[in-house]
């Protein structure tokens, strides 16, 4: 489809890619041609650390239903967290 639509956000966390665990600093979300998933288009998510290089990336390619269910599941999981557990932003790494 080549909509070029792309969401870019800054994140704090870790991800495990082909090079092992790395600090995740950026996420890109878009709906376009997947590399591996056998469909014309998919919801694509890249969890990245561009400072460490292009290979520090975890890629997800999901059909639209799966992407929505994943997003809903994330919200449900966060909503179920007991109140006595902190839900604030993680402290930035030095």
């Amino acid at each position: 489809m080549c909509t070029y639509a792309t969401e870019l956000i800054q994140i704090e966390g870790s991800a495990k890619g082909a090079q092992g665990w790395f600090r995740a600093t950026d996420a890109t979300v878009y709906f376009d041609h997947p590399v591996h998933f056998p469909d014309g288009h998919a919801l694509l998510i890249d969890i990245r650390n561009p400072a460490k290089g292009p290979q520090h990336r975890v890629a997800l390619e999901l059909d639209a239903r799966s992407a929505r269910e994943l997003a809903d599941a994330i919200y449900r999981a966060l909503a179920a967290v007991p109140e006595d557990l902190a839900l604030g932003e993680s402290a930035p790494l030095a």
Binding site: C2, T28, Y30, H33, P50, P54, Q55
Partner: protein, 249 residues
């Protein structure tokens, strides 16, 4: 009939004198061959694009595909490089033109070249093929389903380009456009608009819009592949490049 070829990864001097990676395929035992710059799609300098590059050599053309994402991700896997380039806003138009110019010089310097060079691009490369044809001394250009040629991308997209409407008067070579009627990027209305604009400008434009095909109907590794349409469209490419670039076959 196809001919033997050799192919390898090489480098060439692109925009700003930068040495960038490229994939070259050259027909063997052929002289006086025309040449083709292959512009890869947004997923990058991948296996399918290299296969297309070899296909041109098998049909008697020297072909080179510059890695447009080499600067952002030297040595990276094609998908990682594409993700990096996308997050950075894609390839700036000025840099694309410089990289295609470098690829043209590379091809014209090959022993056996007849000096004629065409360009072909797929998907995002379709728009970039038109951009190159409006900017450089090319002999023929093919736009395979390039979006945002006559309309700007929405302003909220991170990509650093606009439509090519202002550049179309500079189109200096024959252009072949290959589109799917079920595509929305570009839509049939947009390809109609391109046809109308180029007709008004008196440009040499041949368009084929195929029913039953959407975007990326050439892509053999994707569900969008439409073998009957792709076979017919490849035939149009061979006829078009044969007429404008010649071939040593």
């Amino acid at each position: 009939m196809t001919v033997d070829l050799y192919a390898r990864t090489t480098s060439l001097q692109g925009f700003g004198g930068d040495e960038i990676e490229a994939y070259v395929a050259v027909p063997e035992s052929v002289t006086g061959f025309g040449s083709v710059v292959v512009i890869h799609h947004m997923p990058g300098f991948d296996e399918a694009t290299k296969e297309n590059t070899r296909r041109f050599a098998a049909h008697g053309y020297a072909a080179v595909c510059p890695n447009l994402y080499h600067r952002e991700a030297p040595g990276a896997a094609a998908d990682d490089a594409a993700a990096t380039a996308r997050a950075l806003g894609g390839v700036p138009d000025e840099r694309l033109v410089g990289d295609v110019a470098g690829a043209m010089s590379y091809l014209r310097s090959l022993p056996g070249s007849n000096g004629k060079v065409g360009v072909i691009g797929y998907c995002s490369g379709g728009r970039q093929s038109v951009l190159a044809a409006c900017s450089l001394d090319l002999d023929a250009a093919v736009d395979c389903y390039g979006a945002f040629v006559t309309v700007d991308p929405p302003a909220d997209r991170p990509f650093r380009f606009t439509s090519l409407v202002d550049k179309l008067p500079s189109l200096a070579c024959p252009l072949l456009g290959l589109f799917g009627e079920e595509d929305q990027y570009p839509s049939p209305e947009q390809t109609d608009d391109l046809q109308r604009r180029l007709d008004e400008l008196g440009k040499d434009f041949t368009r084929h819009s195929y029913p039953g095909a959407g975007h990326a109907f050439f892509a053999v590794d994707r569900p969008s592949y439409r073998p009957e349409v792709a076979t017919e469209a490849w035939g149009e490419i061979w006829e078009f490049f044969g007429r404008h670039l010649g071939s040593g076959k």
